[in-house]
Assembly symmetry: C3
Homo-oligomer: 121 residues x 3
């Protein structure tokens, strides 16, 4: 905890996913909400098969989901999503002629049933 | 919003994922629940590593998740899942000798912490 | 239902994902919580792009999500996550010099809007 999951459509060739993850992890550390930086586990998945709406015209999206152990306030959640969205907005350059939707969603992880273990130091 | 996510097992070679997404997007537009068709963001992921149950015999599945901003009634959610399931059931032909489970799940997106921005027009 | 989803980072080359899924499905059958073994639908995804924290040093993770039709007690959920975590802990050997976080999360599937159909026998 937390877990960050970024999806991005394959028509955004200049999006550097590894840079995006490091910047988002940095934003999460800077939020002061997480006691240990190595608790932040992030991944990015490129979407090769996608469809925005039903019309013509090239469209794409970036969707970030941040999953947190339940219990944080709505205000903290909104601050976290806004800070992640700011990182995503700064990920360009974006391709010309492509309409791109950027979204950040916060999810709760059920605290009581979450189980965790560590291998190695 | 909404976000649609389809997973399908790799043993369904005739499933045309791009056609599936367009048909599901059309079904969502036809539901009248969404003000703008381009708000519908859909993706499909083929599962290369999967396992149904513990027995022998070839099995597969298609799993559709539709994530909606929280606030819709149980009746609306059930209508949406039924209409998406109807689309999925019509995606054949299905391979002979493979038992295929088709599932549609509706999820809520936390409204207050959802953040969004647009790039391009 | 249930749906099991395992993610694992690409720096764990000895993790045998297909073995992991079968063992976890066996653990779920052994829990006695599910009436039919073939209801258990599991998949594994290798994460090629990931980032743990912000520091240096090689790190990885395995994250298992188990989604259940809503209604099970917190005690049952905790038992299920503990039994899945035990399976994951036993998946080694783990690479030397890599710190690996293992996590299991239980999610609820909204019961009323879940839709399902079967193709084949």
């Amino acid at each position: 905890m937390p877990h960050l999951h970024m999806e991005y459509t394959a028509n955004l060739p200049e999006l550097k996913a590894e840079v995006a993850l490091l910047r988002m992890n940095n934003a999460l550390v800077a939020s002061g909400q997480f006691s240990a930086e190595h608790d932040i586990k992030s991944r990015a998945v490129k979407l090769e098969t996608f469809r925005v709406g039903t019309g013509i015209g090239e469209q794409g999206f970036v969707h970030v989901k941040l999953a947190l152990i339940s219990g944080r306030s709505p205000e903290i959640k909104k601050q976290l999503s806004d800070s992640l969205l700011a990182v995503v907005q700064d990920l360009g350059p974006w391709p010309a002629g492509v309409s791109v939707q950027l979204c950040v969603e916060i999810l709760d992880i059920d605290r009581e049933s979450y189980a965790k273990a560590l291998i190695g130091q």
